[in-house]
């Protein structure tokens, strides 16, 4: 057993508690340094572990309770595969970047901010490495509690406490749904280890109400975290309230943790017993993904609050991730994984630019910032590079992810998937491009009647901010996001890893019988013509529509009015009322669960 595995989570957690112990008496700079080290060291460990997971699953048993081959696991075990280690690596890299960026960004009680960030990052890393369903739940809650707290960090400046409150209530209820699912599974199988539950469910073979309800509740509970329609409402509120470096983690990895959880639990637990119902499950999840992608893209175009705009863009991309996952195909899943990586870097960079705007210009409203970003050259460069990365241009940014998902979809007969991906990408990227043109170039009109007005955060702009480190991190992330797509080796490795990830029997053999599963066949990258065509379409579409919408004042008045009327209902649904959100949560769970109930017989 490799002691590096638990240290990935233990180091940041220990550092968080120590920092809380001495934080009052040490200077802020020391707290920052401790935080960065405590995030960077486990990042390196996760990287090392990642290199050791080639075609293998490393298990780790806490307290030394390693069961003998074939015995019942009585304690908590982690099972680290490529995806898990890679995801933990991504989380810790982003955590380190966020903490480096915060060096100059955060003010009061900095040590508490660092403490909560470390707990947040460590919880996500632990969550993706865990192989025990209740252990996953515990770290899911730790991640949520730290996230709730972080949204409210700048409590004096961001008066909309709405964001934190709605976030906390909706996500807590999502966690209850997961817990109900866990309880049902425990009642049937009497086990908590994912592999053991999977084996027992498959041997039992019943796919009755219990299994369907458990699957529905666990899926819907995690879809709340993954911000899928109709569970997505909290996300925009939380992002608009949270500090920029926290948003980086929210959009970059926290939302994706929800998808990771669904994928992990589906392929270790339900794949056996529900395997023959792949078709209905695929169709239901695809439906949710499509609705999410379209809603996110449409709502994104209506925002002028930059962080809220980026949040809706995350929802649009979340829909695309769900489509990649829903195809239930290793190649599409690998595509979703590289897509997540490229998106995390690019979107993170955009949020960090938002933070720079808040700090130097004292505002986050696109229209109010019109032309005010002209002299922020590095930030502007980062913004446009990241926009390009999200537009999925050929062989850059999110392209490889898109291509893998699209190819696998057309192989499975879902010819319309590329259209949805293109719509979501164009809709969201056009809005980001539009905001960039307005803020950094000063293009177009300073008014747009369609965009919804939000109370803007208005911290006093700092007189002489030192932007060096902040700009460097921002630019670095943007470039990383763009280059991800150029590295096709990453995509092929992700597909190989996805083969291991989706191999239920291999996982069970590795965890319960300590056998090494056969390594997946090596993959090669095939560029298809259609993927390049679609990449050009999304790129050109994003840029044209983004450019066009800057000049909305030159559009015919009747068209603007018609658009405004058409957007009325969807705007009204996003009401900001926590009761509405919970009502939608119940309704969405009923619809998704009901569809599973009707189709899985």
């Amino acid at each position: 057993m490799n002691p590096m595995i638990p240290l990935i989570a233990a180091i940041p957690l220990l550092a968080a508690t120590l920092l809380a112990l001495v934080g009052k008496w040490i200077p802020d700079a020391a707290a920052d340094i401790v935080g960065m080290v405590a995030a960077a060291v486990p990042a390196v460990l996760a990287g090392i572990v990642l290199t050791r997971t080639v075609g293998r699953i490393l298990s780790y048993w806490f307290g030394g309770w390693r069961p003998r081959a074939g015995d019942f696991p009585v304690a908590i075990g982690w099972a680290v595969d490529r995806f898990g280690a890679g995801f933990a690596f991504l989380v810790l890299i982003l955590l380190t970047s966020a903490l480096v960026y915060s060096w100059r960004y955060m003010e009061a009680d900095r040590y508490l901010y660092v403490v909560l960030m470390l707990a947040f990052g460590a919880a996500m890393a632990a969550f993706v490495l865990s192989g025990d369903i209740f252990n996953m739940f515990v770290f899911f809650e730790l991640m949520s509690v730290a996230a709730f707290a972080l949204t409210a960090y700048k409590v004096e400046e961001t008066s909309p406490l709405q964001g934190s409150f709605n976030f906390a209530v909706v996500n807590t209820i999502g966690a209850f749904l997961v817990l109900f699912g866990i309880a049902l599974l425990y009642g049937r199988t009497g086990a908590l280890n994912l592999a053991e539950i999977g084996v027992r469910l498959t041997n039992d073979g019943r796919h009755d109400g219990l299994v369907i309800a458990a699957f529905a509740f666990i899926t819907c509970g995690f879809l709340v975290k993954a911000a899928c329609v109709p569970f997505h409402f909290w996300l925009a509120d939380a992002h608009a309230t949270a500090p920029a470096p926290v948003c980086l983690l929210f959009s970059g990895v926290m939302v994706e943790v929800g998808f990771f959880a669904i994928a992990r639990i589906y392929w270790t637990v339900f794949d056996g017993v529900l395997g023959e119902f792949q078709h209905p499950i695929r169709d239901v999840l695809l439906g949710v993904g499509v609705v999410t992608a379209i809603t996110g893209a449409v709502m994104c175009g209506l925002q002028r609050h930059v962080k809220r705009l980026l949040a809706y863009s995350t929802i649009a991309h979340a829909g695309c991730f769900l489509i990649g996952l829903a195809l239930l195909d290793p190649s599409a899943l690998g595509g979703a994984a590289v897509y997540v990586i490229a998106h995390a870097f690019a979107k993170g960079s955009l949020f960090l630019v938002g933070g720079i705007l808040l700090m130097t210009r004292g505002g986050i409203d696109e229209l109010l910032l019109h032309g005010l970003g002209k002299r922020l050259y590095v930030a502007a460069a980062a913004w446009f590079i990241a926009t390009l990365a999200l537009a999925s241009p050929p062989f850059l940014g999110t392209y490889t992810g898109h291509a893998l998902i699209e190819d696998s979809a057309s192989k499975l007969g879902y010819w319309w998937v590329p259209i949805v991906l293109a719509f979501a990408t164009i809709g969201s990227t056009a809005a980001i491009f539009r905001a960039g043109l307005r803020i950094f170039i000063g293009a177009g009109a300073g008014d747009d009647p369609i965009l919804s007005q939000q109370p803007s955060e208005s911290p006093p702009p700092e007189e002489d901010p030192e932007l060096g480190i902040m700009s460097a991190v921002t630019l670095l992330l943007a470039v990383a996001g763009l280059l991800c797509g150029a590295w096709t080796g990453l995509a092929t490795r992700a597909v190989e890893a996805a083969h291991t990830f989706t191999d239920r029997l291999g996982y069970a053999a590795a965890v319960l019988d300590h056998r090494v599963p056969p390594p997946p066949a090596p993959e090669t990258w095939h560029t298809t013509t259609s993927s390049i065509v679609w990449a050009v379409v999304t790129l050109v579409g994003s840029l044209t529509i983004g450019f066009g919408s800057v000049y909305r004042n030159r559009w015919p008045e009747s068209m603007t009015r018609a658009l405004d009327t058409a957007y009325g209902p969807i705007r009204a649904i996003h009401s900001g009322h926590v009761g509405d959100y919970v009502a939608w949560l119940a309704f969405g769970t009923a619809v998704i669960g009901g569809l599973f109930a009707v189709t899985i017989r």
Binding site: F148, S159, L161, F176, A183
Partner: protein, 114 residues
């Protein structure tokens, strides 16, 4: 009759949800969240119960005695701590919202929509 404890868990959970949806007060919502959560305790403990089983403490009973499942009890203990922590946090948000907006009505604290 023998499914009554399970149905109780479902009932408590749904009642709590109803309270959240229909509420006009943030503190009331925080309390309803904790009611919702108690539904999960009940379900867990009901699953692990054994007729005529005793508590899983072997101090003065022979280890061959039939005992109820200790695992669900430990899960519930964890769940309870989580519930208190989350409730304290949600209440703190509610208080802060009150301080800023001067109201506890979820309808009136809405500043962002659309």
């Amino acid at each position: 009759m023998s499914v009554l404890p399970y149905l109780l868990a479902v009932f408590v959970f749904l009642v709590g949800l109803y309270g959240i949806v229909s509420s006009r007060n943030l503190i009331h919502i925080a309390v309803c969240v904790s009611v919702c959560q108690s539904g999960t305790y009940i379900l867990l403990l009901a699953i692990g119960y054994k007729t005529h089983g005793t508590a899983p403490i072997f101090g003065d009973i022979p280890s061959s005695r039939k005992v109820v499942d200790p695992v669900v009890q430990s899960l519930t203990l964890t769940d309870i701590v989580v519930a208190v922590a989350v409730s304290a946090l949600i209440l703190a948000f509610a208080l802060k919202a009150y301080e800023h907006e001067g109201t506890l009505d979820p309808h009136e604290i809405v500043e962002m929509k659309g």
